[in-house]
Symmetry: C2
Subunit: 251 residues, 2 copies
């Protein structure tokens, strides 16, 4: 039975052997997380699974009752390894077939003459799903319940988010501040931990960097409350001054 999900969160399912094999670098996660952050939706888990029906069905069914929104990327094209639509139908025990509206859209996009078997396959999906329009290449994504299925090609995925915005009911926007300082993590670990303990509902992350011979640490504070971020930042600045650590940049 479906639990009632109160948190405004999301999980992403990246579908594709090419990501697992290292052939392709995923760049959709960053696009989705930045877009969802703006809408006040926090991504709390990501899974990358192969083009395998059992893996997709299990993963989606596990996540969709635990997270408010599920986004899948990849596997909705015309070739044999594009099995997302069929797998989602199976996950929801819905009929998989020709989606009339999608078929019409694709027929108009390609013209009756060029609407070949491969292209017709892209109209095959859970027949009761609602569509996500695709302004760049015709073939739509689709939504079943809280599962939003998007393509894997980053430029196309990106172009489809605009039309999706109104369908996501987000929470409070999550703000973040980053301060980068010239030090190593071990020099600030205990001072930073004290600040974290004081502001225990605020996410404070510490990330060392080594860029072009420069070393340093970026401290990132994330919260839906701007005021809290400023307070945290001031406490951090206090111990930075005390330790005579140089601030490289704040953004």
């Amino acid at each position: 039975m479906k639990k009632s999900i109160k948190k405004i969160n999301a999980a992403i399912v990246i579908i594709g052997n090419e990501i697992l094999s290292g052939r392709t670098q995923d760049i959709n996660l960053i696009v989705l997380s930045k877009w969802l952050n703006e809408l006040g939706v926090k991504i709390e888990e990501v899974r990358i699974v192969p083009d395998d029906e059992t893996a997709i069905v299990h993963t989606v069914n596990f996540l969709r009752v635990r997270f408010k929104y599920i986004f899948t990327t990849g596997g909705i094209g015309p070739t044999h390894d594009d099995i997302t639509s069929k797998s989602i139908a199976k996950a929801f025990n819905l009929k998989y077939g020709k989606h009339k509206e999608a078929y019409k859209l694709l027929e108009n996009y390609y013209g009756a003459k060029n609407f070949n078997t491969g292209r017709k396959k892209m109209a095959m999906m859970p027949i009761k799903s609602s569509l996500i329009l695709n302004p760049s290449s015709g073939a739509p994504g689709f939504i079943v319940d809280n599962v939003y299925c998007l393509p894997g090609v980053p430029s196309i995925l990106k172009s489809m988010l605009g039309g999706l915005k109104n369908k996501i009911i987000g929470g409070k926007k999550i703000y973040s501040e980053t301060i980068s300082i010239k030090t190593v993590e071990s020099e600030i670990a205990s001072s930073l931990e004290k600040v974290q303990k004081k502001y225990n509902n605020t996410e404070i992350g510490s990330y060392p960097f080594f860029k072009q011979g420069k070393i340093g640490v970026s401290i990132v504070i994330r919260s839906p409350e701007k005021k809290i971020i400023i307070k945290c930042l001031n406490e951090i600045k206090k111990f930075i001054r005390k330790k005579k650590i140089r601030i490289i940049i704040r953004n």
Copy 2:
């Protein structure tokens, strides 16, 4: 109870709020998958989880009985948000404490004078784990059973793989061939499906690309058997010639 895992496969657990929030682009997965491919180990699942003990414990415990090797990345540094070591101890119900060998290594690396509290924390781990040496920055990773814990900083992770190679018993190396052609997926979908059906144990992937105004499709064939790849490739070339599609590159 632990099932016996016969497949030579792996799962990756990427630990870090910074990856989920979109602040940081993960690039470790590509490094690990290419390295594991060479060793004949196939990555079959990846999960990205937050810096949260419950999430790490559940994820690792779920995966470690289902996959031959588990690699975690991130969360083994000196700050408060580095909780991988503690979480792994909890997952295995092992004592978390000062690892003598790691402590010695770190003390030698930093020198007794500079061996501060933060640095000492990096010697805290499941006390019965074996170490993964770190030639670039001292702090070791560690192994418990089939779980290999590596850092999140890509250059450091990369430098630690050499010392790990002998600990991985791989299977047959997986070879791959890619042929990129000037077409769209829907033009080749049904022909390619026929080849896939004939060679149903071979992984054939189709990936459209849109680069600098050029469009095309890369077909990737992956198998531990070089001969099968060549046979597949010849069948693909046959229909490409028939359809008068131009080959852009083969590699």
